[in-house]
Symmetry: D2
Subunit: 284 residues, 4 copies
């Protein structure tokens, strides 16, 4: 599918006729739906949908789709987002000292597994400047301490603005973002190296080892002020045994982290994730 | 969701307006869609959908839905099936000597994991009569040899008619059904004890052991005249090691077989499987 | 392998010559080792091993093996257990209202997946008497409240003695055992319906649903006074999605619970589990 | 464990006293066993073991271990290999046009996930010279056609000798090696992008798509003259659905290929794989 598409992500109170109304809007304007998926959360009384159609042959120019759809959405009390498949979003990858998720994301971006630009890497350590250089990406070293956190976050926000960043990916960034930061820049995906909600916080592999678990996991989620408590996008696991020392858990975990984070970023960039409450609908 | 629903499974050549037309049909008749999922096979130029709506408040009585929808379906050259969620289908479980899949299906039916009646068990061996007695199910022993296969299949077909069977589940029935049989009664689900298409035919666990695989699987599929070649509904796998003898593969495989077959039967009974060509769309 | 075997499970401070000393003891007495596995926990400075040999041709009669081995074990400060493969242990299955784990264990025992007798089912509810009757197993209904817990536990202990029980399996028994009980009868295996240590305590599926996890799990562990905190024997997981309501998690979880508990019980009965600290070595 | 170890991989006809004899040899020479695992293949009457001990404090110098052990091995008709954990083996990575397995192996080697040198990349295409340059590895482009295969294999063998290569890793090298080549250089590990023995040969993802499987896999194995038929070291799988086009299978498969190949190479380098017949024992 090389021709560009439009994608609507919609959530609204459930009622009759929603699928018809949305489909009619697209059909009436000459749109060809290529993907439509819907979910009803009965407990919440909520209708959630993702609908994707080809822009070729669609009567409305791009800038008129949102206002036109708004006329339909408003009486339905719908929250919605409109995206175009050929939008190339700009990602800032945040890291500390570990390079595996960073390298993996860069490799996938170069391999065109997802469409995005990575203009900048932000780190609280100088170590991985060399990777940035190798791939011709800017590297901003902003060390963060308890004392300077507020001013450093101001600098980070400035950088995000300066680089016109759409999405921050915490690719093993071992610092907590403040609530203020997240209010100003809420589009942040994290990878946590445990099967959440087990082993929240620091040193999950050590804790997993001590607990003697037989399976370890990794979790990618949107970041909220609630530590490791944001809406989960993707998780995966791998079996371990008594033979695995902590460093084996770390090694096996790295493979999980790479894959789980990459899947989450890809799902987000393809506009397949709809957050409601503290949950996600992932239109796979 | 206790109120009954109608389900349409539709496949037709892809074109604009399909979602709108189908959704409008339901909305115009007062239907409340609670589940809609769609898939487009671009290579085949095919649109495939499953749409489910509540019958409470639907203006059309059940017997008029099919003729009414036909008026819409015909110009679209659509193939379609209409089902009602409160239809209790009648299953004949076919077995040979092993009881694990049989007991599992009976347990799930009693636990209401799926809505179905199991009025009869058909076997080419007399061994499991006792299970049938225990659960008050009729047991028909029809031994099959090369010589008598044709006449025995005639008897089997008679039984299916007599018991008003909707679905045959081959729950480790170690015989091949003839093409003639399948033409007369095509709704047959099988469990094959391998990760198809590996190890087609007899003794897959022995073959898996000899090949030294590190993972074994089970596959549930619709039966066609092509041995172990019908459309796959569900598969799953489990890890094995050099420590596993053939009997360990058999034991581990039994757990797979039970679960994979049960999932496939449940998906079928919930009208979530749409076959096209030799493939399935499983609306999960 | 039908001929009976002896199994030693040994843990002792690590030092040179341990494998040689133990193997020599067996060889010197004419034993043929058919399985030997060893693990060293370097952090704990601990050597752990499981060694199994054929009793046919072994010079020592069964009752002299333990005293003879003790002469070797004592200077090594070894903790050890001696088992014979043809010992048929007696299991009491404890349940509340759910039957799936109970039926599964009974089915596996009858299918000879493990060698054990199940002379009695103990329940805090009368509901499943009918299952006990069907399989000719005694059923003891002992209802437990906060007030009568102490005296009821006394009754339960009496029953365990009366039935000569070696192992208690909590097959979805929804009550906590007191520390006193566990001191008197420590061989208890539980199945917890979550991926521990996530969702300790009551209603793990509800909690998992609310947290919006993408994978659920089940954990079988030895019971200690620390709620859901005992040494883990086995865990497994299954993927879920936004489409799964709480009752779907429950249904999917049941399949996990059955399999994980059965694996743990089998490993225990085959003397493959060595507990040290709060961890297990599982000699697979 | 930083101190170097010696590893014996032994297979011999099963008989009494084998564990004792081998352990005594090590203990008598002052060795401290840190890992010992054993497997008996009863059908084949074969005893297989891996035993690892610390060289610190071992009385025998390295070059005398083999002759000393030979005196024990010969009367047992044992086949055996002796390895040292600090041996750094030299790998030649062979590729065609795809870079994902290559980059992954290089990353793991740099991250010290396994100890090896990668002095040369051999390819039948010139495309990935740039990767070699980036990591300062020699790149040899040897294009192979039906006509020149024999002489090109001669060149390849020369290169392996010149670079003192211990192990060839086919990291998506899309050519078949001749039986002559394998006779001269048998240490070759391949990654095949299917769950063998399903989809042997070319285009497994296309075949998997056409067959409509619900799970795809990858297999790493030693290469023999029997196409995709050599002893399997490791396999893994990932779930797919009707939504996955062939290119999605390729993308998901790449993650599998990277991980499965890396695991197999690591197991081999740690001397954990013992081949017998067409099977492997993997001492995990």
């Amino acid at each position: 599918m090389v021709s560009p598409t439009a994608i609507l992500l919609i959530s609204c109170p459930d009622q009759k006729g929603l699928v018809a109304k949305i489909a009619n809007f697209i059909y009436a304007n000459g749109g060809h739906i290529i993907h439509a998926d819907q979910h009803t959360d009965f407990a919440a009384g909520l209708f959630l949908t993702r609908i994707e159609w080809q822009l070729d042959g669609f009567y409305l120019p791009r800038d008129l789709i949102a206002p036109a759809f708004n006329a339909i959405a408003q009486p339905l009390q719908a929250k919605w987002e409109l995206h175009f498949s050929d939008t190339v979003r700009r990602i800032a990858i945040w890291i500390s000292r570990q390079d595996h998720c960073l390298l993996d994301l860069i490799w996938r971006q170069r391999a065109k597994e997802f469409a995005a630009e990575i203009p900048v890497i932000i780190s609280n350590h100088p170590d991985l400047q060399v990777v940035a250089d190798q791939f011709d990406i800017d590297y901003c070293h902003i060390s963060v301490t308890k004392e300077n956190k507020q001013e450093q976050e101001a600098k980070q926000l400035e950088l995000l603005e300066q680089y016109k960043i759409d999405l921050v990916v915490l690719a093993k960034y071992m610092q907590v973002l403040s609530e203020e930061f997240l209010t100003k820049f809420p589009q942040v995906i994290n990878i946590h190296h445990s099967f959440l909600p087990a082993f929240i916080g620091a040193n999950p592999y050590h804790k997993a080892f001590e607990r003697g678990v037989k399976i370890i996991g990794a979790t990618s989620h949107y970041v909220t002020a609630n530590l490791d408590g944001g809406p989960i996008i993707e998780q995966d696991v791998v079996r371990v045994s008594h033979r695995d020392e902590v460093e084996d858990l770390v090694r096996k975990g790295k493979d999980l982290e790479r894959i789980v984070l990459a899947r989450a970023v890809r799902l987000h960039l393809q506009n397949r994730v709809l957050v409601y409450g503290n949950r996600t609908v992932v239109f796979g």
